[in-house]
């Protein structure tokens, strides 16, 4: 389970939902319909559109100029599944060829029996994953029919022990930090094993309940202060006080 965080970083997540701290010129809050920049040089990216010479925001969030591209990062809202996201979900149904998993998104995820890490007899599927079990899985495709999950990677599988809780999914990049710096800090300070799903579900397992609760507090502190720059230093300070 240790590598899940790093994998979430490496496998596409950093490209799709970059950390808010990424090196960019300026960031500011925009509301839908607000003009972000004017000029023909700019290209509207995610959450932006062009009207005449202006680039307007079509989402509430932080506007960012990365080179010529202008985009808006949402601050709140529901989880939208993307390929290669690592998510935490709960098994809600077992069908003849796989498991239906609630991943806290508009569509439920489906884990086909072929995507389990080892061969499973179709008659004994509930011995591998029963209804109500919580799993860490990776999204390997998103299509109109639904979200397909896989367990064929390091760090994926059924969760046992510890506890899970939820934060706002848009805050996840901040909790992980640049190349996992923030989450590594929390892991080091508390000695807990932490898995952060891109859907905002977080699993913590530690040596003692106190350590687990401390880790949760730390994560909720970050989720609360997600807009502040230099959070890693703030977090180190927080650990000296608590």
């Amino acid at each position: 389970m240790k590598n899940t965080i790093n994998e979430a970083q490496e496998l596409g997540d950093s490209a799709e939902s970059p950390s808010i701290e990424e090196t960019v010129k300026k960031r500011r809050v925009v509301i839908p319909g607000e003009v972000i920049v004017s000029g023909e040089d700019y290209l509207p990216g995610d959450g932006a559109r062009r009207v005449g010479a202006d680039v307007l925001a079509c989402k509430f969030g932080l506007a960012e100029e990365a080179g010529r591209v202008v985009k808006v990062l949402a601050l709140t809202g529901a989880f939208v599944p993307r390929r290669n996201n690592v998510v935490i979900g709960r098994v809600t149904n077992i069908t003849f060829n796989g498991w239906v998993v609630d991943i806290d998104a508009a569509q439920s995820g489906f884990l086909p029996i072929d995507e389990s890490p080892r061969f499973i007899n179709k008659n004994e599927m509930d011995q591998f994953l029963a209804i109500g079990d919580v799993i860490v899985a990776k999204i390997w495709s998103v299509n109109v029919r639904g979200v397909d999950l896989s367990l064929k990677s390091k760090g994926l599988g059924k969760i046992e022990g510890g506890f899970i809780f939820r934060v706002i999914p848009n805050r996840v990049p901040r909790i992980i930090g640049k190349e996992g710096s923030m989450i590594t800090l929390i892991k080091d300070k508390t000695g807990c094993d932490i898995t952060v799903g891109q859907n905002g579900w977080i699993w913590i397992q530690g040596p003692t309940t106190d350590a687990e609760i401390k880790a949760r507090r730390a994560i909720e502190f970050i989720a609360d202060k997600a807009y502040i720059t230099g959070l890693t230093e703030k977090m180190e300070e927080w650990f000296t006080q608590n």
């Binding site: 839908p32 079509c58 989402k59 509430f60 601050l75 709140t76 809202g77 529901a78 807009y227």
Partner: protein, 233 residues
């Protein structure tokens, strides 16, 4: 005529004190509160999420489902909880007022639920509800072209006034009172709600709309500030 004074003592185009706050409901994906004086509306947005019953799903887009209701303690005489003819109508017009700004093509087969509840009613609840719902949708990160602003204009006898409260709506002298709630896409000429309860000369409608436009700009400023405040904390 010149001595006409509103029962509330406000100027003709003076809006009641407005306030707005975003993020009032932690469990919702987006939420907001908006108030005109003693009228307070809260709105919560959930989704995009899976739509049941399945036959209502639209594979080309998400659908918007608005539920407006007065809470039982919001009015002097206890309101029986649950949907009524009035609340169903207002739910529907709120939905139509918001839909033109939303871009829901990204989320096929899903639903976006908007719950609008009135905590305190002193007339103008649908306009406060639309303003709150528009903020809540923005807060939920739903792609939208612009915010929707809403205000009611009206007439007391022959005078055009803005943002009637309950006492003013019950005004009976002369021609009586007219309530003319409107909603529009902010900073544009696109109207998304026009209702009329009472009498107004066709020639005066234009004047009423000009006054409403000015009022909407003030509403928009309040909405804008509320959204920006969430981040600055």
């Amino acid at each position: 005529m010149a001595e006409f004074k509103r029962p509330s003592g406000r100027g003709m185009t003076e809006i009641r004190k407005m306030s707005a706050k975003v993020g009032v409901i932690p469990n919702a994906d987006g939420s907001a509160m908006f108030s005109f004086g003693d009228t307070i509306a809260i709105a919560a947005v959930y989704g995009p999420r899976l739509l049941h019953p399945q036959h209502m799903q639209d594979p080309s887009t998400a659908i918007l489902r608005v539920n407006y209701d007065l809470l039982s303690f919001s009015v002097y005489e206890r309101k029986k909880p649950g949907p009524s003819r009035r609340s169903q109508e207002i739910s529907k017009v709120t939905e139509w007022a918001l839909l033109p700004v939303l871009d829901l093509k990204e989320f096929p087969n899903t639903v976006i639920d908007v719950q609008v509840y009135i905590l305190q009613a002193d007339a103008g609840t649908r306009t406060a509800g639309i303003n709150a719902a528009s903020l809540a949708l923005a807060h939920a990160g739903i792609p939208m072209k612009n915010l929707v602003t809403s205000i009611s204009v009206g007439k007391q006898d022959k005078n055009i006034v803005v943002d009637l409260d309950k006492d003013e709506e019950d005004y009976e002298e002369g021609e009586g009172a007219t309530d003319f709630p409107i909603a529009k896409v902010a900073n544009s000429d696109e109207y998304t709600l026009l209702q009329l309860d009472g009498k107004i000369e066709p020639s005066e409608v234009k004047k009423a709309l000009t006054i409403a436009d000015e009022a909407c700009e003030k509403v928009y400023e309040v909405q804008k500030r509320a959204l920006k405040e969430v981040v600055e904390q």
